[in-house]
């Protein structure tokens, strides 16, 4: 690996690990004052220590003092200082500063050294440290220390361990051992020294301090100690003595590192998943060789045909498993998003003077990384809403005979082929009357519209709807539930809201496991084939004309057992040429308990389809979730069942949302 590539991969790993470490710090710090066990403190100490060390090694010196200051606080805690709420809040702020400094460096922007310095001062105040530490050791320098033992050093019993130990006490050190000069066994003189070292040390120690250590070995080794300019990247040169100060070469290296960093982002994958993948590939190879054997001379008799069928069946199973395994590579646990909430809940609760407990369950539920990333903002919004509007002030709760502390529950689980995420609070619930009044006042519904509570709650999803009496900076920022719903629907998901006055509100997000592949039911509409996501289909029925009727002159319904199911003419909805004659088959789809019948000409095969985005290839079309290419090369549209059901449930609402 050339030095630039090595540096780039070092940087990438450093950022990845550091952001993970910061997340660990963040979720741990929230519990610091209430639950500061030794294990927690040790874990947090390790997290910040690695960031400090890594930053030194990759040459991001400006975050060193701050990381060091934070580390010192944990060190104090280890030695018995009591953690306070003020301390954990201060450390959380410092973690924020650290994160933005690292994010800036990752994005190639200069960091604000000033912000870091202020944060250092603040952190030091937390433990009452004299600010002199900061003043006395402001300059962290990256040193290159070359150690080349002379050939006879081994016989002179050179011991480098104490030297390396002592040097690493000055600061994080990266030890590069140069072994290329060590000959093969046959040519080796085992008592002659061939090894060399180049240490990179990030420290505030002075040259004199370093010299005093390396002096221990200068009778047996050639040693050089030289500073590397702050911005210059360590570039271990194997054979030549360590580089002299190279100030002018400085800024180039970090920029190269950035350019070499892949822009698509990376993902950590557990070994289990890789192993599963390797297993699948193994099975595929077996199937392939089985099929390969059949491809020989000789008649294609019944026995051979049966074997081919068997092989193809096996191939289909393998492909399916392989696909599942590959999809799992992209999946991450919801916990990575949920973990941000303890802090949010705590801080907002404090600001609003509300006591709030957060319960998280199902955090190990996995879903596609792309879905997860886009889920974060809507979730933050919903949790903020719950804290701001849902949970009542403590006095109100006590007056209502409820527990003083409100509870917010975050839950995730796999349900069917979807992932369901629930955000529930035990607050005051939605006020249907007020929602209706607001909607009327804003002209969102007609003055004489009569809505039951459930229908009234759905009004909060309308664009521009907000009942907050005054706009707070927490949740009432002009964006509201309509934006949340749009985000969720863009992910191919659905959002439902349920509320009981005085008992609380529950919002349920239903999200697809992955955006890439779905199980589809092919149906025919005249000349066209259309894919209906299999998960939403409950049944298909052959129409009996006697059971159909028309309500209110516009809506056709079908009496399915004891229920009236609205019927939608898919061809008309999709603007496809109308087929002659009455359509005969109704595919019943269900979304959140609401059934809708879709009229089609024929139900064809079920198959997995790869979803191609319409937005990316054409533009968004209401009612369509995407398109796919079938085995015969034909393009088929994939229905957006949620939108269709909503159209049937409340035509005016979908029209308003689409506007």
């Amino acid at each position: 690996m050339n030095p630039d590539a090595l540096q780039a991969s070092l940087m990438a790993t450093f950022f990845e690990e550091s952001f993970e470490g910061l997340e660990r710090l963040e979720s741990g710090l929230v519990h610091l004052d209430s639950d500061a066990g030794r294990d927690l403190i040790d874990d947090l100490f390790r997290a910040i220590h690695s960031i400090k060390g890594g930053a030194g090694v990759v040459g991001i010196a400006e975050v060193g003092p701050l990381a060091h200051a934070i580390e010192s606080v944990f060190d104090r805690l280890r030695r018995g200082t009591r953690a306070t709420a003020e301390m954990s809040a201060g450390l959380l702020r410092a973690v924020d500063v650290l994160r933005s400094a690292l994010a800036a460096r990752q994005a190639g922007r200069p960091t604000s050294g000033e912000a870091c310095e202020r944060a250092v001062a603040e952190v030091e105040r937390l433990v009452g440290a004299a600010p002199t530490t900061a003043a006395a050791r402001p300059e962290i320098t990256l040193w290159s220390i070359g150690i080349a033992p002379r050939p006879d050093a081994l016989r002179a019993k050179l011991d480098l361990l104490p030297v390396f130990d002592r040097l690493s006490e000055f600061g994080p050190a990266f030890v590069n051992a140069e072994v290329d000069a060590v000959p093969l066994l046959a040519d080796l003189d085992p008592t002659r020294s061939y090894l060399r070292w180049d240490l990179m040390l990030s420290t505030s120690a002075t040259q004199a301090e370093l010299d005093s250590v390396v002096r221990w070995i200068d009778d047996t080794c050639d040693v050089t100690v030289a500073p590397i300019a702050a911005e210059a990247q360590p570039e271990p040169d194997p054979v030549a003595p360590p580089p002299a100060p190279v100030a002018e070469a400085g800024p180039a290296a970090p920029r190269d590192a950035r350019e070499a960093t892949p822009a698509g982002g990376s993902i950590r994958v557990s070994i289990d998943k890789i192993d599963a993948l390797i297993n699948m590939v193994g099975e595929l190879v077996i199937t392939q060789s089985m099929l390969g054997e059949l491809d020989s001379e000789g008649p294609l008799d019944a026995r051979r045909l049966a074997r081919i069928r068997e092989g193809l069946g096996q191939l289909a199973r393998n492909t399916r498993s392989l696909q599942d395994s590959v999809m799992r590579l992209r999946s991450m646990s919801v916990g990575t998003v949920f973990n941000r909430f303890p802090r949010l809940v705590r801080e907002l609760g404090e600001r609003l003077g509300k006591e709030i407990a957060l319960e998280i369950t199902g955090q190990n539920t996995e879903l596609d990384k792309a879905v997860l990333e886009k889920l974060s903002d809507p979730l933050v919004h919903l949790v903020r809403n719950a804290i701001d509007h849902g949970i009542e002030p403590t006095t109100d709760r006590v007056a209502a005979g409820k527990a003083a502390a409100g509870t917010i529950r975050l839950h995730a689980e796999h349900r069917g082929g979807d992932v369901v995420v629930e955000i529930a609070d035990d607050g005051r619930g939605l006020d249907a009357a007020r929602i209706v009044a607001t909607a009327r006042a804003k002209g969102l519904i007609s003055a004489d519209a009569v809505l039951d509570d459930r229908a009234a709650y759905q009004l909060v999803f309308l664009p521009g709807f907000s009942t907050a009496k005054e706009v707070s900076d927490l949740s009432g920022r002009g964006v509201g539930m309509d934006v949340v719903r749009r985000h969720v629907k863009e992910l191919g998901g659905d959002i439902a809201l349920d509320s009981r006055p005085g008992l609380g509100t529950r919002i349920t997000l239903r999200l697809p496991l992955t955006l890439a592949i779905i199980d589809g039911q092919l149906v025919r509409l005249g000349e066209h084939q259309v894919v209906i996501p299999l998960l939403s289909i409950t049944e298909s029925v052959e129409l009996e004309p006697s059971r159909t009727s028309r309500l209110g002159g516009t809506l056709d319904v079908y009496r399915l057992r004891d229920q009236l199911v609205p019927m939608l003419d898919l061809a008309a909805l999709l603007d496809l040429p109308r087929h002659t004659g009455q359509r005969q088959i109704m595919v019943v789809v269900t979304v959140d308990g609401t059934q809708v019948g879709l009229l089609v000409d024929e139900v064809l095969a079920q198959q997995q389809v790869v979803v191609k985005s319409l937005e990316a290839n054409y533009h968004r079309v209401p009612g369509l979730a995407g398109a796919t290419i079938l085995g015969d090369g034909q393009v088929a549209f994939i229905l957006d069942v949620v939108a269709l059901v909503q159209a049937a449930r409340a035509p005016s609402l979908i029209a308003a949302a689409a506007a």
Partner: protein, 95 residues
């Protein structure tokens, strides 16, 4: 720990500049085939010892012959890692 394999080369408790020549001879004699080296006993190691292990790794890699370590004491790990040789040697997990 793995049972001691009969064909493994077992290195002594002290692998230093005094004993390294003997170990070198033992390893050189066996280095033309796949090799299992038992480090379980090695408690004391110096630069000469570590350098010998480096040479062994390089030799196996050069001739593309399999090399497997058995056992490695905490002390050996600490020495190798402190001197930046941990990834070169690829020692098994410490007991």
């Amino acid at each position: 720990m793995d049972p001691i394999e009969p064909d493994a080369v077992r290195l002594p408790a002290t692998l230093d500049v005094e004993t390294v020549a003997a170990a070198h001879a033992a390893l050189t004699a066996r280095a033309d085939a796949a090799l299992v080296v038992d480090l379980g006993a090695v408690e004391q190691v110096d630069l000469a010892g570590l350098q010998l292990l480096c040479a062994l790794v390089r030799t196996a890699a050069h001739h593309q012959r399999p090399l497997a370590w058995r056992g490695a004491s905490r002390a050996l790990h600490v020495a190798a890692n402190t001197l930046g040789l941990g990834h070169v040697l690829g020692l098994p997990e410490a007991p």
